[in-house]
Each structure stands twice: as C-alpha cells, then as structure tokens.
C-alpha cells in the first residue's frame, strides 16, 4: 500500500461557549471521534454519511483548517511525501499556507462556488494564484491561465467574466480548476455537487475524475449521496455520528455491507427499475453534544446486544482492506 496521508486516532469537534461564560457553560460537539484512516496515492476515496455525521469536519481536520470553534482533541494527521513526512496537525496555519495548502493539498469547501470574489474577474483569480505561488510575472501568468483553461475544457470567455455571470455548474468547474492549478498530491472535495442539478453534477464530477486520472493523485470526495460514491470512488468510508464505521472497496461495500448502518443505508436506496418495497431505519441520528454510550449506533441497531451499549467497538480488519467497527462482526469469528 502506497500511503500518502494517514490520520491516527483523530478526535476533534466544536467547543461552544455560551455568553457570560464560566467553565460550566461550555458545550462540546463531538464531531470526529477516534478516526483512523489511510489515503493511498492514485485513488478516489469517498466519505459517506448523513448530514451532521462529522464528514465535513473530518475533511477540515485532514486539511489542517482548525478555525474556532473547531478544535483538535487528540490524534494526528501525517502527510507523507517522497522527501519525508509532514505532520499536518502540528504545523501552524502560516506554515501550512506556505508549505502545504494549494501546492500539496487543496481543499474545495462546501458551496465553494460562492468562494470566488464577486468583484474580481475569473482571470484575476488565476493570475493571483500564479503570481503568489509560482512567482510569475502578470502577463506570463495570464498566458498560462489561458492555456490552462483550454486544457481543462472550459470556454475561454469564462476568463473575462465576473463570477455572478456564470451558472452554478460553471463556477464550480472554475473552483475545481483553481484547486488543481498547482498539481496538488491530494484534492479534498466537500460535497462538490450538492447544489447542482444532476446534469451539471455529472459534468463537474467527470471533470474531477478525469483530472485525477491524469495527475494520478488522491481525490477525496465527501458526499451524502451514495450514488455518487457508487459511480466515482474506488474505496470509501462510511461515517455515523462522528465515527467511521466501515472502510473498504466501494463495490464490496455495496455488494455486501458489513456494518448494520451501512447495510440500512444501502438497502433503503431506491433504484430506477426496481419497485421492491424498501425499509428505512427507525429513530434518528443522535445529538453529538451527548452521543450514546458504547457503539453510537446501538439505539437504532436491529442487531444490538448488551455489550453494544457498554463498550464502543474497535475498527477491525475483516479481510485485507476491509475494516468494520461492530461487535456483531467481531463476535462471529
């Protein structure tokens, strides 16, 4: 396995302080809890889960973007390059900005099509990137931007447009083009298409996939839509209430989900051409301010046993590359 980034026992969340605060007024939202994860070179990795399961927070922590109220509680993220290891979690924001962000790891935030500065033409967004990171002259940068836009398959007149003149799908493609500009080793995309219609979604996802194939880097996609994972990702991790409950090859998980939560999610998915009655889960996702004891899924789990409410299950390798955190799978051996 050719690992490019690893997260070890990563924990973090949001520390909210109510007004007029004393110690007692702090509330901690346990968004990411003991997550261990390895990303490989040249793969598309998906992180799936429902809203509020901590998948976006995990992505931010991998990127090292720890803005308050998000705090790191424990564990580490290590980025492995050919020249050695870079400990993301112990670098300052300044160092990250200088050494890692955009050049090595780029991050496409949720609803990123709104990150473009509305008063600045698309052209100048590109020129700024080239002059700041590649120390180019302005006219040189402009020529480079034109060439690059052609390569990415975007129409040239995009360059002279202001962001509001472009459709959502086009803006998203511009943001993706910007994020790929400096050939990063890892691209982190948080719900890259959640605001788009299915046809624009496909155009955007195809662009991401083709870029990954070309650059042979690592693409991480966070999405609540299992369909996207089904058509895009090679491996995926399923998150529930701040924990990764299952990791494996995407096809294998869809074929034979081992964790009861993955099973429920996949079985409840309606499909075109299949009218079979489907069933969902009872209950609702827990409040991460006070997550359930033991396995966080136990209150909704149809297979729950006494141990599930007492002790959280550890991630366990079932076979090479396949990990599950569930007492049921640990007991069966």
């Amino acid at each position: 396995m050719d690992v490019v980034l690893k997260a070890d026992d990563l924990s973090g969340g949001y520390l909210l302080v109510r007004k007029g605060s004393s110690e007692k007024n702090e509330v901690y939202v346990d968004a990411v809890s003991d997550v261990s994860l390895q990303l490989e070179r040249n793969e598309i990795f998906g992180i799936a889960g429902e809203s509020g399961c901590g998948k976006s927070t995990l992505l931010k922590m991998i990127y090292g973007l720890l803005e308050p109220p998000l705090i790191l509680r424990g564990g580490s993220v290590t980025f492995i390059t050919v020249d050695g290891e870079i400990p993301i979690t112990s670098l300052s924001e300044n160092d990250l900005r200088r050494r890692v962000w955009w050049k090595k790891i780029s991050y496409i935030p949720q609803s990123s099509m709104n990150v473009l500065n509305p008063t600045v033409r698309i052209r100048d967004h590109f020129i700024e990137m080239f002059t700041f990171h590649a120390r180019m002259m302005k006219n040189e940068a402009y020529a480079e931007a034109r060439k690059y836009i052609d390569q990415m398959g975007l129409p040239r007149d995009v360059l002279s447009a202001f962001p509001h003149q472009l459709s959502g799908g086009m803006r998203q493609r511009v943001v993706i083009a910007l994020s790929l500009l400096l050939n990063p080793n890892i691209v982190l995309a948080d719900e890259p298409t959640s605001a788009l219609d299915v046809i624009s979604q496909k155009v955007v996802l195809t662009m991401l996939e083709e870029a990954q194939k070309e650059l042979k880097n690592t693409l991480v996609i966070v999405s609540h839509d299992l369909g996207i994972h089904g058509v895009m990702t090679h491996r995926m991790g399923i998150m529930y209430a701040g924990k990764i409950v299952e990791i494996g090859k995407t096809e294998e998980i869809f074929e034979d989900p081992l964790h009861p939560y993955s099973e429920a999610l996949i079985r409840s998915l309606p499909k075109l051409g299949d009218k079979k009655q489907r069933t969902g889960l009872g209950g609702h996702p827990p409040d991460l301010k006070k997550p359930p004891s033991g396995c966080r899924f136990h209150p909704r789990c149809p297979y729950a046993m006494p141990i599930c409410s007492r002790t959280p299950p550890k991630m366990k390798m079932i076979k090479p590359g396949r990990y599950v955190a569930c007492w049921k799978n640990s007991m069966e051996e």
Binding site: V198, G227, G230, A264, L269, G273, G280, H284
Partner: protein
Amino acid sequence: MSEENLLQVEDVSKIYGYGFLGRVKFPAVDHVTLSMENKPKIFTIAGESGCGKTTLARMMLGMVKPTAGTILYRGKNVHNLKSRDITWFLREVQAIFQDPFDTFNPLKRVDTYLYETASNLLKLKNDEEIRGKIEEALRFTGLSLEEIAGKYPNEFSGGQIQRISIARALLPKPRLIVADEPVSMVDASIRINILNMFKALLTKTGTSFIYITHDLATAYYISDEIAIMYRGMIVEIGPAEKVLLKRHHPYTQALVKSLPEPGKKEEWKTRINAPGMEIKEFLSPGCKYADICPHKTERCVKEKPPLFEAGDVKVACWLYE
C-alpha cells in the same frame, strides 16, 4: 369540464417579469396541461431547479394566480372559489413543503398548529374530539401527541418535524396532498420511511398525491404517473414505468443517464452536454432543449413541438411526430 377529474390543469402559464420595472418577461410555466383522475394515485412532477415545478404546485394550491389558463379541482376553478367553497377546498387539498423548519414559526409550539388546523378546518369545538383527531393523524406518522406536546420546532430533528407537518396535512382527511420536495431535507435513513408512509396513506385512506421532486429514483419508487418538466414546459408525461424506463424525450434520456446509481459506473460515464444559459432557453421560440440536444434540427430551434403520442406516453419532441 368533467366532474370526474380530481384535478384538471388547462393550458396554464405563469409569466414573471424581471429587469427594469419587470419589462423583460419570461414564462416560468409555459402552457402546461395535465389531468388527474379521481382515483387514489401518486402523480409526480419532476425536473431540475428552475423548471417551474414549484410554481406549478403553488398554482395548483391556489397560492399563485396563473397568467393564463385555468386549474379545476373537482370541476371548480381553484382561483375563483365562492366563499363557502374555500373551507371545502382547504379541507380537500393540503400541502407539505420542502423545509419543515420554514413551515412552523420557531416561536410557536408545534402542537398549536395541529389544534388550529383541527378547529378551523374540521369546525370541531370539543377539546376531547380535537385531541382524538390529532392523535389519529400523528399515529399515522409514527408519533404521538405526548411526544410533541408543548415543544418548539427546534427541539425536533428534520425527519420528526417533517412528520409533524405531514400529520398536520392529514388532519382534515384531504383527498389530495401536494408535496413539494418533502424528503429532500430529510436524512437518507429516514427518507424511505416517509415515502412508504405516502404509499400506505394511498391504500388506506385513498389520499392522492402530487409529488414534486428532482429525484428520479424516489419518483420511480412511489409514483403511478409522471410529468418531466424542462424550462417551464412538460417534455414527457405518462405512466412512471414507461417514462422512466423507456425514456423517449432526449432530455429524459439525459436526466436518467446522469443519475448516479451504485453499480452503474460504466453507463454513467457516457459523455453529456452541459446545459447552457437558462434565460436564453426560457425565451427560445422553439424547443427549449434544442440548445444542447444531440438530435437538434433547424425546425427544433424555430418551432415549438406539441405533445405527440408515443404509445401510452406523450412526448414534446419532433422525433415523435
């Protein structure tokens, strides 16, 4: 118009103005005709954002007045009801909206909505009787009055509060429920439960549904009939099975092909044209899909195709002339 049809939408258009003093006009809904028989059925109106599906739903509910055309509910014009028919219409036709947190005032307890609906629409005065009706409606959605009494909207999860808004809609025992994207904000593990609830209501109480959605997979799962809309027009309409599996209109084909589904990796990878400028398409005199259609001819740009019959399905495309 015949009394038999539950709902009859006759050549309805809604034109909005924009720009300086709204002088530039564009049709959000463009000459739409459809009808629903007076039998329990789920009728889906599907399309992407900006296709006019929500505007059409709001016109059906009498909330937005069409610029042209009429909408008849059991033979009565929805936009020209006599005062004694208004309560009747509100009892018969109920709505469920996309964002349940928008439906309820955050400063008002959710159970007051249920009490008000019961006393205003059912004209019940007796407290005991009102509570009985509310319990009955809540039981359908898997909740109880005890669970929700005295609570404010922010104390519920998205799935729970959507179920409460469904219970409220069920109170007057409506014959038709117009549900505008009712599950798009609900967690995936619970989404299917709400769709199953719609199906159960259909068989148990004979309530019909108009299901407005962008999600073709859920549309296929629950609907009997479906209309696909694009830029204000119906491009294909007919039995859901035929429309979604046979796919006549090039737009329906593109939509279904773009739908990411596990196990369809290869099929999904075929190339597709990106949509162009919306406004231009809305104002086009010909077929609004012509700009990106792979089968485009000169006629498509100039002349708008009417709905042609192709078996049980009607398709607005010159290919089926």
